[in-house]
Symmetry: C2
């Protein structure tokens, strides 16, 4: 190790674990979350594709089952996607006959998204598929363990969101 590098290495001493610990992906929450997400998503898609619903589309449908008729922007936020992603996804959903878009005279910028009757009915078929993957994912775990996992993940999300907000404020100041 070159001499100057120690300054960087030293910084890790205040951490929960030294930096080397996280070099092993198995210890990295980011890596573990990625694998959980991908495996979950692939298994779910395998089922939903039978109804011509991709994993990406599923995410939008799920939110619309919860709140039909929200604006495109609101939908983006809830689903956790950026707006251009939503534009493309909605194009696909509209073409596939899952949603319709409606404008009002009230505020002509806004576009409201509505499920078609067909997409509404799909909830009865697709929602149980998600529940099923959940069952598989949490096999052998107690209800308490599942709740612990969910609440710890939510806390991580909150922590990361705080940091992201902090950085956003900083860059606003600069701008």
């Amino acid at each position: 190790m070159a001499e100057g590098d120690w300054k960087l290495a030293k910084k890790t001493q205040s951490y929960r674990h030294p930096a080397e610990f996280y070099t092993n992906p198995e210890n990295s929450i980011g890596y573990l979350a990625r694998v959980v997400f991908r495996s979950f998503s692939r298994l779910l898609e395998r089922r939903t594709l039978a109804y011509d619903v991709s994993a990406g589309q599923w995410r939008f449908l799920r939110q619309l089952w919860l709140e039909d008729g929200i604006t495109q922007r609101e939908l983006s936020e809830r689903v956790g996607m950026r707006e251009p992603t939503t534009v493309v996804a909605l194009k696909g959903l509209e073409k596939a006959g899952f949603i319709t878009r409606r404008k009002t005279e009230d505020d002509r910028r806004k576009t409201f998204i509505f499920l078609t009757p067909h997409a509404k009915k799909l909830e009865l078929t697709l929602a149980p598929m998600n529940a099923e993957i959940h069952e598989i994912a949490t096999r052998g775990m107690t209800d308490e363990e599942v709740e612990t996992l969910q609440s710890l993940m939510r806390r991580v999300i909150e922590n990361l969101a705080d940091e992201t907000r902090k950085l956003a404020v900083l860059s606003d100041v600069k701008a």
Copy 2:
């Protein structure tokens, strides 16, 4: 709800929660994992980009810091990407001067991947960045809670991998 639909709805009764429960993304492990992964990844990339390393590249570098000189296929498996993804990523890494590829006469199909001295040195700078995001992500959590989170995620991964293997065997039988 149409009459015939009850057959599907009924199926949910044996689950930990009814299907409607998972319609709320906040209760879905898949959704939570996606948000953790994306937030984590974005914050990390913000730091690594200063060294011209994207989030995708970081994943490959991390594995190579752990095991230099493995084959392309082994690398794919360890990182959890499909091979075509690895091909593209390695092209970028090679172009950027982070890795070199080497063939042997021993088995001319295999390509071994080696870090350049520059990429090796980067570990000292980049590994602490990951540790730092980890600190942020787990702020306010005890060491025990962090370990619980990791081990629960590993169990979910194992469960989903079991299921995926089961399906692979089934489709092998068919083929």
